[in-house]
């Protein structure tokens, strides 16, 4: 009796690597997408173990601190979401998790604002890095919205007061027609789904842009040779 192994033969990594380069697959969308991605951000660029010598200041710490604080914000927010919106009002453990959530947001914004001002004084948009700057600014704005809807979702005195005051500003722009700050259900949905997704996506794009373009070099010092070994136009606008 012949026994047939039902499991298909496993291609080893070498076979897969070889297959990935087949000329007949050149027009394949997946292959083209992978090749574009690897070309734009090869592993050494995505996770470099060397940085230019000028990357030596405490100001550089605030970018990664912002990302770390965001991770704590999301982790504590997930815990609060698991237990539901009433939990932290009736449980001392819940109140502590809410405190972690609050203070991680404060640290997040502190680090983000220092990061933003640091990048401003470094003119970090130079050398085709404008989109990196813009995604950073938009991340900050969307984060403000995420924090604001968090304050509106607390179901306490602060939520009541902030919503009844903020409604005038929002309503004056016409946005109150669709964004009702006194509607708890709407605000908590924005706070725990729509805005966090936007923040995570924007911060992700921002970090990828940093890796793609690299850390902006310093302004040229007086008398310093610049552009001597520049590949033509590699960090200038069209």
């Amino acid at each position: 009796m012949t026994v047939v192994d039902p499991k298909p033969a496993r291609a080893d990594q070498a076979d897969l690597d070889k297959a990935a380069g087949r000329p007949e697959d050149a027009a394949q969308w997946t292959a083209r997408l992978r090749e574009s991605a690897v070309e734009a951000l090869p592993p050494q660029k995505l996770l470099p173990d060397r940085q230019p010598a000028y990357v030596a200041s405490w100001i550089y710490v605030f970018g990664v601190t912002t990302v770390c604080a965001l991770i704590v914000v999301i982790a504590t927010g997930l815990l609060l979401a698991v237990m539901g919106p009433n939990w932290w009002h009736v449980s001392s453990t819940g109140l502590f998790v809410n405190s972690l959530h609050l203070w991680s947001v404060e640290v997040f914004f502190f680090a983000m604002v220092v990061h933003l001002w640091g990048k401003f004084f470094m003119a970090a948009w130079r050398g085709r890095r404008q989109l990196t700057w813009i995604t950073g600014v938009v991340s900050f704005l969307v984060s403000v919205g995420a924090a604001f809807t968090g304050y509106l979702s607390q179901q306490n005195f602060d939520s009541q007061w902030i919503s009844t005051q903020a409604k005038d500003g929002i309503n004056s722009t016409g946005a109150g027609a669709i964004f009702n700050v006194t509607n708890f259900g709407q605000m908590i949905m924005w706070h725990i789904t729509l805005l966090p997704l936007c923040v995570i996506a924007l911060v992700g794009i921002h970090v990828l842009m940093v890796r793609l373009r690299g850390v902006v070099p310093p302004f040229a010092a007086k008398g310093e040779a610049i552009g001597a070994e520049s590949p033509a136009g590699s960090e200038v606008e069209a």
Partner: protein, 337 residues
């Protein structure tokens, strides 16, 4: 070396220091991103944990219609009277709640007016007459409601005006609202009964906007509560009023939304702190400033501020020391990473 560069489209132009930068051809040094990230995460977790243990977080109980009417029944009755006669803040608000007020505008721009009423509120019906009509087995209230609803508008206005004057001098004694005698028709009964309904806790549920069992829209009770003085007085005591930079504060001594400082600043100064269109003016200012911030890399002058202030020399001080020691060139070894 000439400060010229070749663009991607092949043109030769002068290198602009606030837009362009020569690629780094100098020294590279080991930089362990994963280690930096891990250390930063541990530090943030410890810092956040420490702050949470030391300071906790505020959670002041919300005001309910019941707690408001119990603590200050006269303020509740006075507010209810303005909801019935259509003179309260909500009754005269305009869009998106009703068409009884003027939408804020800047010149011809009145976006709230363009979008119209999206959360319709008739304060007399939604805040007073409707909730009272839900009271079962109360012939006195039903008779007062019937008399009020069948009266001509001019008669209703006359009763309301007389009652609103009188309720300004009301007292609350022995669990009863005491208003000086006058010709108020059924209005005195309606407001007194609504005050009793509020103090019993029945009005909180009756005001919920949703007609479903599960409701999450608190627009109506919140607006009703905000029309009174009680909530504002509590907020004022907690330094949360608009003229106390309240938008960025929260109860207690917590930092609140400190990142809203610039938005809140405009409410403290003219024209926003004196204008009827203050809110839209503040938003317009912030939209302009935010757009400038986002597009700063493209704005001549503004994008030169970092170079003019020279604070970058502090950030990159090690680099500039190295440049001075090395004879003024950044071109050195090729990347080794």
């Amino acid at each position: 070396m000439s400060a010229e560069t070749v663009t991607r489209s092949g043109k030769v132009r002068k290198l602009k220091p606030d837009r362009d930068v020569a690629p780094w051809t100098g020294r590279y040094a080991p930089y362990d991103l994963a280690k930096e990230f891990t250390i930063a995460l541990v530090v943030v977790v410890i810092l956040v944990g420490g702050l949470a243990v030391l300071f906790g977080s505020p959670d002041d109980k919300p005001v309910t219609v019941r707690s408001w009417s119990t603590a200050d029944a006269v303020d509740f009755a006075q507010t209810a009277a303005t909801e019935l006669d259509g003179t309260s803040g909500t009754a005269t608000y305009g869009p998106p709640y009703n068409l009884n007020g003027t939408a804020q505008s800047i010149g011809p721009l009145a976006p709230a007016k363009w979008l119209g009423v999206h959360h319709p509120i008739d304060t007399a019906q939604d805040f007073v007459l409707g909730p009272l009509s839900t009271l079962p087995d109360n012939p006195k209230v039903q008779a007062a409601l019937a008399e009020y609803r069948s009266a001509p508008a001019s008669q209703q206005a006359s009763w309301n005006a007389a009652y609103e004057k009188a309720v300004a001098n009301a007292t609350f004694v022995g669990g009863r609202l005491v208003v000086p005698r006058g010709d108020y028709g059924p209005v005195a009964t309606l407001i007194a009964e609504e005050t009793a309904m509020a103090r019993a806790g029945a009005l909180d549920g009756a005001l919920l906007s949703s007609r479903q069992f599960y409701g999450t829209d608190y627009t109506k009770p919140l607006l009703f509560i905000a029309d009174g003085q009680y909530l504002a007085n509590l907020a004022d005591n907690q330094h949360l009023s608009g003229d106390q930079w309240g938008m960025m504060n929260e109860t207690g001594s917590y930092p609140g939304q400190a990142w809203l400082w610039l938005y809140t600043l405009w409410y403290q100064v003219p024209p926003a702190n004196t204008s009827d269109n203050g809110d839209i003016q503040v938003f317009a200012i912030m939209i302009v400033l935010t757009t400038l911030l986002a597009l700063l890399p493209f704005i001549p002058g503004l994008r030169s501020i970092p170079r003019w202030t020279r604070l970058y020399r502090l950030i990159w001080r090690e680099h500039y020391r190295e440049v001075e020691r090395g004879g003024g060139t950044r071109a050195a070894a090729a990347p080794t990473g």
